[in-house]
Every structure is written in structure tokens, then in C-alpha cells.
Amino acid sequence: MRPLDPVVTDALGRRFGAVVALRGVGLRVGEGTCLLLLGPNGSGKTTLLRVLATALRPTEGRAWVCGYDVVSEGHRVRELCAFLGTSPGVYAGLTGFENLCLAADLCGRPRRQVAELLGWAGLEQVAHRLVRTYSLGMRRRLALARVRLQEPRVLLLDEPFVGLDEEGTRLVGELVTGIKKQKGAVVLATHDRHRARAVCDAVAELESGTLLSSGTAGLAGAVSRG
């Protein structure tokens, strides 16, 4: 039977040769929830996000996004899920407008949304400048606009606050809140616990690829420990 929650993992594991990046991770992220993933460097946060995004195959266990298996139904998962990694993943040789037009064409969204999203990200003045002239923060805003264009039900964010000013942080919050309102789910991995606290409802802590704890109760405690 398909799991009902937007994100479910069962005994999920991933090895890179002899290195165990994830081991026996069992998670459940409910509708309208933003899960904060915490853990030191190398604890498996990014690996977990990349497995959920179908960028990596698990070597053990299973994972489902919106009820679809990330391995056997990866194409369905990609229709419902968006991943924003540590690199903004935008083309420096294209303009901001061209980058979003490419995303719109690849996602099957109307191009008329592009101008609106550039305005949302505060990039309308630089929309027709090559992205190589953008600052890191501007590139990340453009990546946020691209993710919003995808209209995902599940959003996976890896260190989304890096390079962002207060306005950029507000955009992340708006994006996360919008998905929660649509009964979607967000998994957010960061070391910036305080900025994440404003939007997260639950917390999971990873260490050496193993899930130490997860749930809603420990959020305040986990954040204050940081």
C-alpha cells in the first residue's frame, strides 16, 4: 500500500563504496509540515535530500514522495518534488529571464509566469542581464524563483539561507509557507537553526548517517542547542 504522507522513508540506506552515508533512516513528514534536518557536516543530510529528489539511488530500504517510490516511480516523484541544492544551478551564460524561460519550458509551465516570478524574487531590474554578473544572493533568488515556478508538492532545500539577505530569507519563508498551505511538505537541511526555526514545525537529527531523533517536540530544544 502507498504511504499517505508526502515524505516517508523506511530503513533507508546509502553507501558510497565502503563509506556509509545513510543507515536505516525511517522518517515520516506529514502534510503541511516543514521538517528541519539537523546534523554536523557529513551526517547524511544532503545524501538524504538527494535520495528523496531521485538524484541518488538508495542502496538499502525504500523512500516514497507523495506515495511514489523514488526508485521505481522516479518520473512521478520528479513531477511533484523540487530540490534546491547548495549550488543555485543556474546558467551563468544566460540571462535571469532566459533561465526561468528554460525552466518553464522544461516543466510545462506557461512563460507568462516568468516576469511575475522575477518580480517576486526582486530581480525584474536585472532580468535581462547575464547571470554571470549576478551576486551569489541574486543567483540564489533566481533559483528560488525557479523552484516556485515548478509548483512542487514536496520541496527539498539544502542550506537555503546561504548567501541570502533578510529579503532573500523572507522569500524562502514565503515559499515554504505556500507549500505548507497547499498541504505539501518541506524538508530543509541547514546549520542556520535560528532562521529555519521561523518556518519549521518538526526536527530530525542525523549523525554519521543514522537518525538520532525526529518529531515536533524537540524543535525548540534542538534549535536552542545550536
Partner: protein, 217 residues
Amino acid sequence: MKAWRRVAAVARKDLLLEWRGRDAVLPAGSFGFAVLLVLGLVSGGGGEAAPSALWVSVLLAAVLAAGRGADREGEEGTREVLLLYPGSREDLFWGRWLALCVVLLVLAAGLWCAQVLLFDAPTRGAGVLILAALLATAGLGAAGTLLAALVAHVRAGPLLMPLLFLPATVPVLLAGVRLSETAASGAPAGPWWGVLVVFDLLFLLVGPVLFELVVEG
């Protein structure tokens, strides 16, 4: 989601990046020209060596051009983003293929002009040459797109690319040389059109399927 829209988007993106950066056409074209020049010097610039020199230079330039698109995605960290968009990954293959074919045609045209000047080669049989170039480009584009995706994740990718690409595309080299010779002499082409067609069919049919498996990792 319309496949043609996705294919056109990827091709447009690759061609725009190439137009602005010229980081495939210029190095690959210069390299091809250098090969042509060296072969011209070695062979004494005789017209009979011209077809071999042309096709060897086209093939070597194609190795560089084919690898460049994949390298660009790796450098900008966009490969994963591209693969995680919804929709069939075969569309990405066709978009890349289309853009690479345009680049290869530009290279082939430039190298042909250089060959005519350097070797004082005859220009008759241009129709045969153009058809051969179109067929060869379609196959080389498919092979290049597939192999570039295959070596993209390998640390020694730039080294591996010619090792895989050159042996795989020997039929195109042989067919191209023979067809160019027969075009110049007016002799019958024999089985060489068939060789080009079979090569194209093989890579155009198998390429998109294998591409999906390769990028899936």
C-alpha cells in the same frame, strides 16, 4: 507536457550558451584546422589525401565539441538540476543532439572550406558531400551526446571520451572518406551510404534509451 517544447528548450539553451561563449566551436575548429594543416604537410598537400584529411579532422574536432556541452553542465552545477526536471530524459538527449548537430555542421563546413584551400581539392560532387555530412553529423551527434553523458561522472572523462568516441565512429570515418573520393571521381559509391545509414539508425535508436540509463546512474 509537450516533448517538442522540452527538446527545443534544451537545444536553444545549448546553442545560446555556445553562441555567447564559443567554447566548443572555436577550440574544436582550431584543433581540426591544426590537424588538417599537419596532415597537409605530411601528405605534401596532394588532392588525393584531401578526403582522408578532412574526415579525420572533422572526427577529431567532433570529439572536443561533443565533450564540451557536458563539461559546461558540470562546471556550472546545472547537470543535476536539468536531470531533476519532470518529464522524459529522452527529451534532454534529443535537445542536446540537435544542438550538437548544428555545431558539428558548422565545424564540418569550416573544415571543408579549409581543406579546399589547403589541398586545392576539387569542389565537384558537392551534393554528395553535403548529404554525407548531414548523415554523418546525425550519427556523430547521437554518439557524442550518449558518450559525453557516459563519461560526465568519471574523473578521467576528458581522457575517456576520445578513447570511446573514436573507435565507435570509425564507420563514419571510412564511409565519409570513400564517399568523398567517389564524389570527386564520379565512381559508384558502393555500400558506403548503407554504412552511414546503419550507423545513424543504430545510434539514433539506441542512444536515447541508453542515455536514460546512463544518467540514471
